[in-house]
C-alpha cells in the first residue's frame, strides 16, 4: 500500500485521467473544468448584465458536483495520502528556483514564496496570483476550453482546433516560464 503515499507514476495517473474523461462521456457529459467558471459567474448574477452568462446554469449542476468532488479529493489526498518524498523535482529545477528565491518543495505541493498565507501581506504576489487568474479565466473562455477541455477531451477526439489551442497554451507558458518569471520573481 506504500505506493499510494508516493508520487503516482505518470502512466497510471494519465490512464486514470483518460478514463475519467471517458466515464463523463458515458454519463452523457463532457470533461471540461473551465466552464464551471462561467457557471459560477452566472450564479452570481452576471446574466442580468451580460448575455453570455444568461443561460440555465442549473443544467451545469453535474459539473459543479464534479468540482465539489475534486475539492474533497484534493483535501483527502493532501491530508491523508501525502509523504515527505513527494514532489521530488529535478535538482536543476530546484537550483534555478533558488536563484529566484523560491523555496525547494521538500514534500510540499506549492512554494511558500508564492502560496503561503504570508502572501496575503505581499502586494506583489497578490497581484501575480490575481493577474494569473484573470489570464486563465479570460483565455480559457476565449479558447473555449482549458487543459481538460482541449488538451485532454479535444485531442482525444482528434480535434484540430484543440491542437491549435494546446500550441497556444505552450507558447504562452514558455514565454512566462523563460522570460517573465525570472524578471518578476
Amino acid at each position: 500500500m506504500e505506493f499510494i503515499y508516493q508520487t503516482w507514476p505518470w502512466y497510471i495517473s494519465g490512464f486514470i485521467i483518460g478514463l475519467i474523461m471517458l466515464i463523463l462521456i458515458y454519463f452523457g457529459k463532457s470533461f471540461g473544468m473551465s466552464s464551471n467558471l462561467r457557471t459560477l459567474c452566472s450564479i452570481a448574477g452576471a446574466g442580468k448584465k451580460v448575455a453570455f452568462f444568461d443561460f440555465d446554469w442549473k443544467s451545469q449542476r453535474w459539473n459543479l458536483a464534479v468540482v465539489a468532488g475534486a475539492m474533497l479529493g484534493g483535501f483527502v489526498a493532501t491530508h491523508y495520502l501525502s509523504d515527505a518524498s513527494n514532489v521530488s523535482i529535478n535538482p536543476k529545477t530546484i537550483e534555478q528556483l533558488q536563484a529566484m528565491n523560491i523555496d525547494a518543495p521538500n514534500g510540499k505541493l506549492m512554494p511558500d514564496a508564492l502560496f503561503s498565507n504570508a502572501v496575503f501581506e505581499s502586494p506583489k504576489v497578490i497581484l501575480i496570483l490575481i493577474i494569473g487568474g484573470i489570464l486563465i479565466g479570460f483565455g480559457s473562455r476565449y479558447a473555449g476550453g482549458c487543459t481538460s477541455g482541449h488538451a485532454i477531451s479535444g485531442l482525444s477526439n482528434l480535434q484540430i482546433p484543440s491542437l491549435k489551442a494546446v500550441i497556444g497554451f505552450f507558447i504562452g507558458g514558455l514565454i512566462i516560464a523563460h522570460f517573465i518569471l525570472p524578471l518578476i520573481l
Binding site: 452523457g28 479570460f138 482546433p161 523563460h178
Partner: protein
C-alpha cells in the same frame, strides 16, 4: 441522487491530480523548463487512453448510461480564438502554475491563497463575456 456519481468522478479526479502532482506549481514550472518527462507523460497517456476509448465508442456506436447514442460534438473550426485564447490561457497557466481543475482542487486542499487565483479567474471569465463580441473568433 443523480449528482452522487459526478461527485465520485470528481473525487477520483482530485486525488489523481494531487497524487500525480499535476496540481503542483513546481511540476508546471519543471514542465515548461523541459526538465522532467512527468507532466508530458501524464498528458500523453491521458490522450492516448482517450483516443482509444473514443475510437471504440465510435466504431461500435456505444450508447451512454441512459441508452442514448453517444455523440461527441466537434469544436467549431477557427484559428484566431484558439491560438489567441490559448496563448492568453498559457500565460496565466505558467504564471500561477495551475489551470482551472487544480485551482478548485488546491482550494479544497486548503491553500487559501489560491482563492485569489479563483477570484481572478472569475473576473477574467466575466471580462470575456463583456468583450466577447469585440474579439476576433
Amino acid at each position: 441522487m443523480k449528482l452522487v456519481k459526478f461527485i465520485m468522478v470528481g473525487f477520483v479526479f482530485g486525488i489523481v491530480l494531487t497524487k500525480s502532482e499535476a496540481v503542483s506549481w513546481y511540476r508546471i514550472y519543471e514542465m515548461f523548463q523541459f526538465q522532467s518527462f512527468h507532466m508530458y507523460g501524464i498528458i500523453m497517456v491521458a490522450v492516448v487512453t482517450g483516443i482509444i476509448g473514443i475510437q471504440i465508442i465510435k466504431k461500435y456506436n456505444l450508447k451512454d448510461y441512459s441508452g442514448s447514442p453517444i455523440h461527441i460534438a466537434d469544436k467549431d473550426p477557427s484559428t484566431a480564438r484558439y491560438v489567441l485564447g490559448g496563448l492568453i490561457f498559457g500565460l496565466g497557466w505558467a504564471l500561477v502554475g495551475s489551470c482551472p481543475g487544480p485551482i478548485f482542487i488546491l482550494i479544497g486542499a486548503g491553500f487559501a491563497t489560491v482563492i485569489l487565483v479563483l477570484l481572478g479567474a472569475l473576473l477574467g471569465t466575466f471580462l470575456y463575456g463583456v468583450l466577447k463580441d469585440k474579439l476576433p473568433h
